[in-house]
Amino acid sequence: MKKLLIDGVPGHGWLMLAVTTALLLAAPLFVNDYLITVLILIFYFAYAGQAWNIMMGFAGQLSLGHALYVGLGAYAAAGLYVHFGVGPWIGMGAAIIISGVVAVILGYLAFRFGVGGVYFAILTIAFAEFARIGFDHIKFLGASSGLFLPVKQYVSNDLWSLRGKPVMFYYLMLVLMLVALGICRMLLRSRLGYYWRAIREDEQAAQSLGIDVFRCKMYAVVISAAMTSVAGVFFAFYYNNLFPEQVFHISRSIEIILGPIIGGIGTLVGPIVGAFVLTIFSEGMTELLEVFKLTSPGAKQVFYGIALLVVILLMPHGIWPPIARALGLAEKSGEGKPTDEKP
């Protein structure tokens, strides 16, 4: 445990992590409410991006339907809370189990029958779309008219029920993001992590070295799904309303994967860096377009798309790898090394 988590991080790496964490811990004392909500969004994307990265970045399995697990987690915890008064921390257990089971079914169908690459990605979309349409008809969970959590003006923060002010979610999501970083580092440096990367690089060669490819891929899918569902629990209790049309929508899945793509697929810090860059950029763009009175619908999306394209063309391996090399943080385990990712 300790060996996988701690060893090999250089001194200045710890320093940068400590300084960043300290700044983020202190931020609510200095910044306004708007920036707090932006940072919560960043932490959310950083966390979900890391979870997605386990599947794609580590094990090479492209999921374009991760909104499925966010949605399942959100609905599981919210449903239990609204109908049975079960608190979100217990709901989280249900969220993890339900997402895990769905991931097992999806993984089994795909990997037993040799569905890979683009076809696997399409299967993940199909599962998410199936949920989107299916949840529209589950009356118990509000169907298409939405599921709402009771809200009031909070004077204190109830951590147990996750009822409180944004700053409570700020700290929770910050912790979640950092815990995910630790988990991902341990996974990547474990035996399973080596096996995932071997599978990502060449499945047949991996198999010839005694690796049970099916089993390793199943672990990737289930761990990734379970982690993602936890983001869904916080999503539900932070926004207090859930609509299948929004939660499970493919654009939600795409949002999750943009961070790791821009930050650096398969790296540890890339998804976090990507979430910061993209969210700040997106918010900044909104402001900027208003200043220039460019408020026609779609203008933001167009600029956003062009910016993404430029980053991908200039830095095909993401923003983080060159930074990691410059800072001397490129790990032996592949952090910051150029990868010839295959789709």
């Binding site: 060996k3 071997a198 690089e201």
Partner: protein
């Protein structure tokens, strides 16, 4: 002296093409056995059946007393058969060390100890100085060495080498021959190698199997096999005798 590997009546067809036809041979524990033959003779196909990549259409493969034909490649590897690929397949984005590490983790789940093992093997194959290089940046001879290192890291009882000398310079071939001979002598590793480089075959192999159009046309000691008229006619030509 018992047979580690027994092949009986092995056949494989690809849509009518008889790639391997009714081939039988056995490999004794601790020996170095070579498979030679012209291009398209079915040598790699034979390896692929032993390693579990293809299920044979007919015949049996007995390894260490158990039938293994039709098992998946990972199961075959876990039973103690390591293989290299003729067209090398390193994990391109991983470092040389990590490539070998993946193999070493099979018998040594602890990552630090597996890494120690990987370092040993890298030294053995002369790749230690290049351990932090990305595998995709290696030259072909180094990739061939990496292929051997990775298979060796799984600590096999039987090592299947598919043309690992191809593309090496004569001096490099001699180094590889020495490495393999040492491994065989010190750890009793059994080796089956497919090889076109006759100088390596003559130096290493105790016995040779000659395949032609999927059929075994000769087998025996190298010196005898290279004088076999059928072998000379189909494969060696006239100039390489002796």
């Amino acid at each position: 002296m018992s047979a580690l590997l027994e092949i009986k009546g092995l056949s494989k067809n690809f849509r009518g093409l008889k790639a391997v036809q009714n081939v039988s041979f056995d490999v004794t524990q601790g020996e170095i056995y070579a498979v030679i033959g012209p291009n398209g003779a079915g040598k790699t196909t034979l390896f692929n059946m032993i390693a579990g990549a293809y299920a044979p259409n007919d015949g049996t493969i007995i390894f260490a007393g158990e039938r293994i034909e039709g098992l998946p490649p990972d199961a075959v590897c876990r039973r103690g058969i390591g293989r290299t690929f003729q067209i090398v397949r390193p994990f391109p984005a991983l470092s040389v060390h990590d490539n070998v590490m993946v193999g070493a983790l099979l018998r040594e789940p602890d990552t630090s100890r597996a890494s120690v093992r990987a370092h040993e093997i890298l030294r053995l194959l002369g790749l230690h100085d290049k351990r932090d290089m990305i595998a995709s940046s290696l030259t072909l001879p180094d990739r061939k060495r990496l292929e051997v290192a990775r298979a060796l890291a799984t600590d096999p009882k039987l090592l299947l080498l598919d043309e690992v000398m191809a593309g090496l310079r004569p001096t490099e071939t001699d180094v590889m021959v020495d490495i393999l001979r040492d491994l065989n002598r010190t750890s009793g590793l059994t080796i089956v190698l497919i090889e076109h480089v006759m100088r390596a075959v003559m130096a290493l192999a105790g016995r040779v199997l000659v395949l032609h159009h999927g059929e075994a046309i000769a087998q025996g000691e190298p010196a005898a096999v290279v004088r076999d008229p059928a072998v000379i006619k189909s494969y060696l030509g006239t100039e390489v005798v002796g």
